[in-house]
């Protein structure tokens, strides 16, 4: 297994063995991510974070990951202030930044942009979201959260809830969960069902349900996503639908004791704040897990572990 120099563009390119290795390293990184232990393993290395689209968690957690390991960070989160606004191609931007850094993290509005970056850069490229395409580090941290909780993904009942049509995180997540043998439930309003081409790639057929109440007792992981208001032509329809798919204390009273609730965040009412104090809530932990997982990825692709 060679990680040094590897591009992380799509979750589909990672084998089960490679994912296990990432999680093994991530586990060791947890005390460093918490600031309880110090590390300098990436001292002298430079990470470039190229955010052509706004992001808070992803960018900050990558930067934290690099800083916690003693490395340096360059980059931008506002392309308007760069030469890109002068009409430079992405290929040229990448070629230049590649000369300044040891590893590149990119988020870009166009699908396939991370693949382009990986082709033009000599150094490893990590995709931090390309339009409606892939966001592999989010998928990895979601999977890491589930693995830490349950040990094995195989046989888990996982409900993907909310916007399954446009939400890119659920597409890659559904793919990898099915590869690892989870039972997948898809819970969404008819307007926001998972696209057929995504379902076609799943190893086993997921169960599509309209109503959370029908499956609440069986579910191990409630993976909730945001239903965006702009997807609905009629605001009344939006309010009706959004309410139906929200996680409340009352709903969880029927759930398994061991069930957990996850959300890629930001949430806008899909999970009632009353859930925060329940033992099921795992979304803040999940957001934290982004740091050790990204620390693991950076140190693996730079070949220091």
């Amino acid at each position: 297994m060679m990680f040094k120099g590897k591009d992380i563009v799509s979750i589909k390119e990672l084998s089960k063995k490679e994912i296990d290795r990432i999680f093994e390293v991530a586990e060791e990184m947890i005390p460093i991510a918490r600031g309880e232990k110090k590390s300098e393993i990436l001292r002298g290395y430079v990470l470039a974070t190229l955010f052509f689209e706004p992001s808070t968690r992803t960018r900050l957690s990558f930067e934290t990951a690099m800083h916690r390991l003693g490395g340096g960070v360059i980059g931008f989160s506002n392309p308007k202030a760069t030469s890109i606004s002068k009409g430079e191609t992405l290929a040229d931007t990448i070629r230049i930044i590649d000369l300044y850094s040891d590893v590149i993290v990119i988020r870009h509005p166009y699908e396939g942009s991370a693949r382009l970056a990986a082709e033009f850069a000599q150094h490893p490229v990590i995709n931090a979201g390309d339009g409606a395409g892939q966001h592999p580090t989010q998928t990895l941290l979601d999977l890491f959260t589930m693995t830490r909780e349950f040990g094995d993904i195989k046989g888990l009942n996982i409900a993907l809830i909310g916007d399954l049509k446009y939400g890119r995180t659920v597409h890659s997540l559904a793919y990898i969960l099915s590869e690892l043998g989870a039972n997948i439930y898809l819970v969404s309003p008819p307007l926001l069902r998972m696209p057929k081409h995504i379902i076609r790639e799943l190893k086993s057929r997921p169960v599509e349900v309209d109503n959370l109440d029908d499956i609440v007792e069986e579910v191990d992981v409630f993976y909730v996503t945001r239903i965006q208001k702009e997807r609905f032509p009629d605001p009344t329809e939006y309010r009706k639908v959004a309410g139906t798919y929200s996680i409340t204390e009352k709903l969880l009273s029927k759930a398994k004791k061991s069930a957990i609730v996850m959300h890629p965040l930001p949430r806008v009412g899909e999970i009632a704040t009353e859930v925060d104090k329940l033992p099921h809530a795992r979304y803040f932990q999940q957001a934290f897990n982004g740091v050790p997982v990204r620390m693991a990825l950076l140190s693996l692709v730079l070949g220091v572990v």
Partner: protein
């Protein structure tokens, strides 16, 4: 058998006969070969011709031969087609078109938000997911494209 059918349209001296085109696709074959208006040689089309396997279209183009890329394009439009190369009224070679495993530079991605459609120095590239029915996947944005969509986007 083919001899008898091809006689329905005139025999050609030199050129190509594209046979076994799925019914109704002959005009699309001409379109992807950029045959329109005056090309300086004669073109004959037979549509809805009875064959051993049902119905088919046939295209004959005089004094024209095909490049590898054009054969690949024909395979996308008419995967069952055979290309006969005619020299001095004789078939000198018969070529069954084949959908390649990788499609490079002959199809544009249908996804307007794909990076290959943004003026970057890239050649569009697709993996063939299934040949029957034809489904291809963009190497960059990973979007799937199917038959009609593929034909509409041949460069």
């Amino acid at each position: 058998m083919d001899e008898e059918k091809t006689l329905k349209v005139q025999k050609i001296k030199n050129g190509i006969v594209i046979d076994h085109i799925p019914c109704g696709r002959a005009l699309k074959v001409l379109k992807i070969l950029n045959i329109e208006g005056d090309i300086g040689s004669s073109v004959s089309i037979a549509m809805h011709v009875r064959s051993r396997y049902g119905w088919k279209d046939i295209v004959k183009i005089e004094d024209r031969y095909l490049e590898e890329k054009e054969l690949d394009k024909i395979a996308l439009v008419a995967p069952t087609a055979t290309v006969n190369i005619i020299k001095n009224y004789e078939v000198v070679r018969k070529h069954k078109v084949q959908v390649p495993d990788k499609i490079v530079g002959i199809v544009r991605c249908t996804n307007p938000r794909c990076i290959t459609n943004q003026n970057e120095p890239l050649t569009p590239e697709f993996y063939v997911i299934s040949k029957e029915p034809l489904i291809i996947k963009c190497k960059y944005c990973e979007r799937d494209m199917e038959s009609e969509e593929i034909i509409e986007n041949i460069i």
